[in-house]
């Protein structure tokens, strides 16, 4: 895109579940990010706009929104990369209830994390020696490849199976579970495998791989879920878990 466009035409979702897109004119600046654009609207054009952000530098995951049809971190999306002919359409993340304008209610996203048993279960006390985990063990390599999830919700928003299946816990919750399945220190894996083997767990995934395409941390939830499918199938066939 050339530097000749001096103004952006920015359509922002206003309202809750129902509402409409409202269009604003925002001056185009160099190295502008989509978050800069949204911030400009709220500060200079319409203070009633609601949106979320925190770090502004791509480490917190708060600013994820749908930008021209794709869920992204707005603070790390340069306008030049996405604005077709100086136009931007920005809405809240999909697959989540809208609170107002560009903010969504992420409660179900975090509840699914719990449902998939994505919380560490200790197996020792402070009196035992510290566990020695080799960073080059296959399990630790697998966990490390999936550990950097900051729960931004982009994968959840981009997943068609989440959209079609209200019981599906989603890629992020399962990725988190996968890191713990691979954590030698964790003592809760039977219950965890049982949880992800149930309806709405890892087997609901159809490997569309949108999550892997979209993850701003370049994680691969499809691969994590595939790992869970293997582990749960083995556990089921061995009688360690039930359907």
């Amino acid at each position: 895109m050339s530097g000749q466009i001096s103004e952006l035409s920015v359509s922002l979702w206003r309202g809750g579940k129902s509402g409409r897109y409202q269009t604003y004119s925002v001056p185009r600046r160099e190295s502008q990010t989509v978050l800069d654009v949204v911030t400009f609207v709220q500060r200079h054009l319409d203070p009633t706009l609601s949106y979320r952000f925190a770090c502004r530098v791509g480490v917190c995951g708060s600013c994820a929104m749908t930008v021209n049809g794709r869920p992204r971190w707005t603070c790390r999306t340069h306008v030049g990369k996405v604005a077709d002919n100086g136009r931007l359409e920005i809405g809240p993340l999909a697959n989540l209830p809208v609170i107002k304008d560009l903010t969504t209610d992420m409660e179900i996203f975090f509840r699914n994390w719990q449902k998939a048993k994505g919380a560490f279960v200790p197996s020792q006390t402070r009196h035992e020696p510290i566990a020695q985990i080799r960073p080059d063990s296959p399990a630790r390599i697998a966990a490390d490849a999936a550990i950097e999830c900051i729960n931004c919700g982009v994968c959840y928003a981009g997943c068609d199976t989440v959209r079609w299946n209200s019981g599906y816990v989603g890629p992020a919750a399962l990725t988190r579970a996968w890191t713990l399945v691979n954590d030698e220190r964790d003592g809760g894996n039977t219950a965890r495998l049982q949880a992800v083997a149930a309806d709405g767990g890892c087997h609901s995934c159809h490997s569309h791989q949108s999550c892997q395409e979209l993850c701003p941390q370049t994680l691969n939830p499809t691969a994590a879920i595939a790992g869970l499918k293997r582990r749960t199938a083995a556990a089921y066939l061995k009688g360690e878990i039930e359907a």
Partner: protein, 116 residues
């Protein structure tokens, strides 16, 4: 209507997953009719024979080519899923998915060449 989510569906892999599902659905719908046709042989060889002659029509042969394509693409799509779920692949998957579709087309074309 809120945010219009569209761009992620441009992916070849997403399309492969959809083709897999739709081909499976089409085959599932086709199967009862296939079984009923074969079941004609219960009544008499003659009924089965007249059905087979009906399938000689060019339009039916085209449809059969389509079915062969669906069968092949569903099988290859299934192999794609088995590969994703059992090997940590990432690179080259798109090419594989395209190759699978191409091979299916070849098989279907081969079938059509035989019957016409």
């Amino acid at each position: 209507m809120t945010a219009r989510l569209t761009k992620h569906r441009d992916s070849a892999l997403w399309l492969a997953a959809m083709v897999h599902r739709i081909s499976g659905l089409a085959l599932a719908i086709f199967l009862p009719f296939h079984f009923l046709a074969l079941g004609l042989a219960i009544d008499s060889d003659a009924r089965f024979e007249s059905f087979l002659r009906w399938t000689d029509q060019p339009l039916v042969k085209f449809a059969e080519g389509g079915l062969v394509f669906l069968l092949a693409v569903h099988l290859l799509g299934g192999l794609r899923v088995l590969v994703i779920e059992n090997f940590a692949w990432r690179d080259g998957q798109k090419q594989l998915a395209t190759l699978a579709a191409a091979v299916s087309v070849l098989i279907a074309v081969g079938f059509l060449a035989r019957v016409f």
